[in-house]
């Protein structure tokens, strides 16, 4: 629009005000489009709910051991049994929500807070836990272990 008005009068004179206007418009466009483009860029976690996480490499997980994986805001315990089977269970103790751990010496899942014990299927077998641990699904793709919610 500036062109339209500028045209009939000062055609060849450098118009300082117009340069400022152009610069302002450019800055304006930048300050509007930068947030929009940043907004549209896919975020790290691409969806609202975590449905699946990578839990590391199978070859790095020893037999007869377990480790805690962060699944959204909740811990999940991934266990490789002595026979090499993979199991994933919620690591939140059903008693008072402590994080459970794998005890090699007992061959059990154990909660340090009140000595709650679960078998490797997550069933509460001793101590105060009232319910079994919720199971998660384990999928192995190549050497990579993935844990996902049971559907």
């Amino acid at each position: 629009m500036d062109n339209v008005q500028g045209k009939p009068v000062r055609k060849n004179r450098r118009d300082f005000l117009k340069y400022l206007l152009g610069a302002g418009l450019l800055g304006f466009a930048a300050s509007v489009f930068y947030p929009i483009i940043a907004y549209l860029k896919p975020p790290k976690q691409s969806e609202v709910e975590v449905t699946s996480v990578s839990a590391g490499k199978l070859s790095e997980l020893e037999k007869d051991s377990g480790k805690i994986i962060r699944f959204g805001n909740k811990p999940v315990i991934l266990i490789r049994t002595a026979s090499g089977e993979l199991r994933a269970l919620s690591a939140v103790c059903t008693h008072l929500e402590c994080t459970v751990q794998y005890r090699k010496d007992m061959g059990l899942i154990w909660c340090a807070c009140h000595n709650g014990k679960y078998d490797l299927n997550g069933r509460n077998i001793s101590g105060p836990p009232p319910r079994p641990l919720d199971p998660y699904r384990v999928v192995v793709k190549g050497d990579e272990i993935f844990i996902s919610k049971m559907t």
Partner: protein, 490 residues
């Protein structure tokens, strides 16, 4: 000759009997004859309530009780059945006992649904021979000589019930054929219980088998409708134990059920339907029901609260408690109305329990240790709470704080572990756990504060864009001014 004499005798007796039992229109020829012949059946039957009501042998055995001719009376034509076998026995009983009209005729007010209940009960299943139910009426009530339940001679009179049930239930060979996993020591255990000992002394009031398990309607323990299913136990015990009038002579409190219902265990069982929660029998035992002894309380509680019990048993308190005859867990946590333990229990304030024994002038360190421990755990809990407030604030401001939130779980875990560790009554061990938690809360606090700080940092971005927009607005304003000036000139 003998026969003639016998016949005459028979006749005379019959007439005499007929004269005596005027209300009976007809003489019961079965009884007349069988009594004269002797034998336990007829002797017992004389005491029988059915005999007293004028019911003839033929009511169950068939035949013609009016005929004095043995061949005629006990002929198939007269419907004579002899000794009923298997389910026939029960059929014979329920001809009257399932018929309220008939029962009314005899002036009886007892219920008529026993057979229905029995059929649905665990005893109503087929026996191993596949031909009859496991239990017939006479298994418990006997055949001849049945008396009212409140008659001490009855096999189902409270003091006789344990023996009656034990006829089968303490026979391992017999029980094996139905339920090999079922124990057979119930009677033995029962005799060691307070209930059982009083029962043995002839007191009909204490609980016997039927008080808890029911009589005709006994269901397997795992059946949710069973009177002794886990969630039903407190109410079955309270039937007597909450009845102040009934319990009066025993001089024990009657508020256990009420207390239990509002306890952490009662809430878990009744409201959260947690079938792992203890009911009355978990601590008192069932057949051997007796309050746990003072020195064994920690073991009883320790069946679930293992770590606490273990720590306590190896702590200096164990010895001291035993010496002073203080009941272990109960001294601090109470028994039936245990509420969720909080930090309040610890320390030396008025509502804390440590100061009950540990006074400020205590020669041992107890008073100081209790005070320190409380201080430590309070500071851990406060910093955990503050952290979660910070995290919530950061979240409400739209900051990504998942990592810190995840780590705060460790602090919560440390709080719980510390609460358990209290039972070691060892300050060093306790502080180790608390310190672990405090380290986490400190780190989380920094992270959360950083996130909130980041929120305010957004204002710098705002400043930049506001500056740009304002600049553009200013230039536009000048431009408009110029256009309007030019117009005026034109």
């Amino acid at each position: 000759m003998n026969k003639i004499i016998l016949t005459i005798l028979f006749f005379v007796i019959s007439v005499a009997l007929a004269a005596r039992d005027k209300e009976h229109s007809v003489v019961d020829q079965c009884y007349v004859c069988h009594e004269s012949l002797g034998g336990t059946e007829s002797t017992l039957f004389k005491q029988d309530i059915h005999f007293k009501k004028g019911i003839s042998c033929s009511a169950c055995h068939g035949g013609d009780s009016k005929s004095d001719d043995m061949d005629k009376a006990m002929s198939k034509d007269a419907g004579y059945k002899g000794v009923p076998k298997g389910n026939e026995i029960t059929q014979a009983c329920i001809r009257c006992h399932a018929n309220s009209e008939m029962m009314k005729k005899y002036g009886s007010k007892i219920p008529t649904n026993q057979f229905e209940l029995l059929k649905a009960s665990v005893h109503g299943r087929l026996a191993i021979n596949g031909a009859e139910r496991i239990v017939q009426c006479i298994t418990c009530h006997n055949a001849h000589g049945i008396v009212e339940v409140d008659n001490p001679a009855s096999p189902v009179y409270p003091t006789n019930v344990p023996k009656t049930c034990a006829k089968c239930h303490d026979d391992p060979v017999y029980m094996r054929s139905y339920n090999p996993a079922l124990p057979v020591d119930q009677l033995q255990k029962y005799r060691t219980s307070v209930h059982g000992m009083r029962n043995a002394k002839g007191d009909p009031k204490p609980a016997e088998c039927a008080s808890c398990h029911g009589s005709h309607d006994i269901l397997p323990v795992k059946d949710t409708k069973s009177k002794v299913y886990l969630t039903n136990i407190p109410s079955i015990c309270s039937k007597c134990h909450s009845n102040a009038g009934y319990m009066k002579q025993y001089k024990i409190p009657t508020d256990q059920y009420e207390k239990y219902s509002r306890s952490v265990h009662g809430i878990a069982l009744f409201q959260k339907h947690d079938i792992g929660a203890p009911a009355c029998n978990s601590c008192h035992g069932n057949h051997a029901a007796t309050p746990p002894g003072i020195t064994s309380i920690s073991e009883v509680c320790g069946t679930c609260h293992a770590l606490n019990a273990e720590l306590f048993s190896s702590s200096p308190h164990k010895k001291a408690f035993d010496k002073k005859k203080l009941p272990e867990c109960e001294t601090c946590h109470s028994n039936h109305d245990i509420i969720t333990a909080s930090n309040k229990l610890l320390g030396v304030s008025t509502d804390a329990v440590c100061s009950k024994c540990h006074k400020p002038d205590d020669p041992s360190k107890g008073y100081m240790v209790a005070k320190d421990m409380r201080l430590m755990i309070d500071s851990l809990e406060t910093s955990e709470k503050n952290d979660s407030i910070l995290i919530q604030e950061a979240e409400q401001k739209g900051m990504e704080i998942g990592e810190a939130k995840f780590r705060l779980r460790d602090a919560h875990q440390a709080t719980l572990e510390a609460r358990t560790m209290v039972h070691s009554f060892n300050e060093a061990k306790f502080n180790e756990v608390v310190d672990k938690g405090l380290k986490v809360t400190a780190a989380v606090k920094i992270e959360a504060a950083d996130a909130i700080h980041e929120f305010y940092f957004r204002r710098i971005g705002l400043g930049i864009s506001v500056a740009i927009i304002s600049f553009l607005a200013l230039v536009l304003y000048l431009y408009i001014k110029r256009i309007e000036k030019r117009k005026e000139n034109v």
